[in-house]
């Protein structure tokens, strides 16, 4: 306790952090991205039911520490910025653990004219330049196939009681859990059964998410969300979309999440009127965007197993 003032990361880790940040800036510079900065504290926040926000106030009302710079960056895209990237802090209340620090560093970028697969290739190239020793090719795998293999049943077609029975057999410690919907069951399987089996020395890219987990990804002609997640071992490194663009689609998805929040008794988050105005008055150019957890990539590069080892002052010492 008395050594709380001292940095948690070693000097070597801090040097690698600095060198990696420089590499990231060079990576985007070479590819013609514009570096931008957007507010950390804003009037609106992400409506996702799974995200909890730090809230503060001024005389005009509540302000939300941003869980990601997505909404503001999309306003820039609507305004004609072209391809942009940002290295920023993001804040997620109550997300704390070996792979989570409530305040963390995100690299988020939007590539105008890219489709999902072109962005996946770019993300993997950037990760490979930060994390040495990874196999050259990533393994691309469909979400539904992973779930079917892990559960031994049809993850989308079988009833909830069937799924619950399978989960209890796989994970006896979850016996007493009450699930509200299919996605909650699948989330548990993803986090405790599927991801821990991913290769540690190769990137795994999960694609074709169910529509219910689309977030703000486009729904493709096959009915799946054009969303992808990049894992290295069980560590989730990046989440990306081929972006939905239609303002009404955003309204519907915000409403769905706000309704879920209300059902679960979570604090209401106002929908981002400025983002909706931007999508309505201008339009989001066809693009793909992704957020990469920088601290986690650094953790892997350093061979560490706790994100705290990458941070000068992790949460307990902040």
């Amino acid at each position: 306790m008395e050594h709380d003032w001292q940095p948690r990361a070693t000097l070597k880790a801090l040097e690698q952090r600095a060198a990696s940040l420089a590499r990231v800036r060079a990576f985007f510079g070479e590819r013609g991205y514009l570096e931008v900065e957007t507010p950390l504290l804003a009037r609106a926040g992400a409506t996702d039911a799974q995200l909890a926000q730090f809230v503060t106030h001024d005389h005009d009302g509540p302000l939300f520490l941003q869980t990601s710079p997505e909404y503001a960056m999309k306003r820039l895209l609507c305004a004609g910025s072209g391809s942009i990237f940002q290295i920023t802090k993001a804040f997620r209340l109550e997300e704390s653990g070996r792979s989570h620090n409530p305040e963390f560093t995100l690299i988020e970028w939007y590539a105008v004219g890219y489709d999902r697969d072109r962005l996946i290739a770019e993300v993997c190239t950037l990760i490979a330049s930060l994390v040495p020793g990874l196999a050259r090719d990533a393994r691309i795998v469909r979400y539904e196939d992973l779930m079917r293999e892990a559960l031994g049943c049809d993850p989308m077609g079988d009833s909830l009681p069937v799924l619950q029975g399978r989960v209890r057999a796989l994970l006896p410690s979850a016996e007493a859990l009450a699930f509200e919907d299919r996605d909650q069951i699948l989330d548990l399987v993803m986090g405790t059964v599927v991801a821990p089996r991913f290769a540690a020395d190769r990137l795994t890219v999960v694609v074709d998410y169910p529509e219910s987990q689309a977030a703000l990804a486009r729904i493709n002609e096959r009915g799946f969300a054009d969303r992808f997640e990049v894992y290295c071992g069980a560590v989730e490194l990046a989440n990306g979309f081929q972006e939905a663009a239609d303002a009404d689609e955003y309204r519907r998805r915000f409403a769905r999440e706000r309704q879920k929040r209300a059902q679960r008794g979570l604090p209401a988050i106002p929908e981002d009127a400025r983002l909706l105005a931007a999508l309505t008055e201008k339009s989001l150019p066809p693009c793909a965007g992704v957020a990469l957890g920088f601290d986690r990539a650094l953790m892997l590069a350093l061979g560490e197993h706790d994100i705290a080892a990458t941070l000068a002052f992790p949460w307990e010492r902040a």
Binding site: D48, G97, L171, S173, A176, D183, G191, Q213, N239
Partner: protein, 189 residues
């Protein structure tokens, strides 16, 4: 008693689970992508000592357990209960066989023990790490053999049996580690 949200989980936190007091010994936060967060928790049942794993949805709450650790002085036992006294309040408590467990064989009057109390009732008793006890029974000592090799069993005044070097005699006072059950040295008194 307070309730705790999974967000307050940390090692050592005492909670009630299946009507038993438990201590958290490991807490892993799992959150896939944009999905639901879970806490995978390893928990020691303080009554049975068993370790179980339990998965919670993050944000779930559990009742806290009124479990505290207090230092108390051992007084005596009547074969059924072991009696302890708080050196500060002079309050006395009785611990049953289950709570005393293995600690019983190390307890000599006035030994300061760590008692874990649940709702004021002793759950477990931890003896001092080092105790000095007299040998009441052992084979005759072998003079001059201070090698410590080989050894022989010796019964101590509290009933515990430890392995001692061959030169130890009945009436010797020994310093013993109660965690390993090992002889450390001869003590003066």
């Amino acid at each position: 008693m307070a309730t705790y949200s999974t967000n307050e989980f940390k090692n050592g936190l005492k909670i009630m689970l299946d009507q038993d007091p438990c201590a958290i010994i490991e807490n892993e936060f799992v959150k896939p992508g944009k999905g639901q967060a879970f806490n995978r928790v390893k928990i020691r049942n303080l009554r049975t000592g068993r370790v179980v794993e339990r998965t919670f949805k993050s944000g779930d709450t559990v009742p806290g357990a009124d479990v505290v650790d207090v230092e108390m002085q051992y007084l005596y036992n009547d074969g059924e209960f072991w009696y302890f006294m708080s050196p500060e309040t002079f309050e006395q408590l009785a611990a049953d066989k289950t709570a005393v467990g293995d600690a019983g064989k190390w307890l000599k009057e006035q030994a300061v023990c760590l008692l874990t109390l649940w709702d004021g009732v002793p759950l477990s008793v931890e003896p001092p790490i080092h105790v000095t006890l007299k040998v009441t029974e052992t084979d005759p000592g072998v003079r001059g053999d201070t090698s410590g090799g080989g050894g022989k069993p010796a019964t101590l005044e509290t009933g515990a049996v430890v392995r001692v070097p061959l030169f130890i005699n009945i009436g010797d006072i020994l310093k013993v580690n109660t965690q390993t059950g090992e002889y450390i040295a001869r003590a003066k008194e």
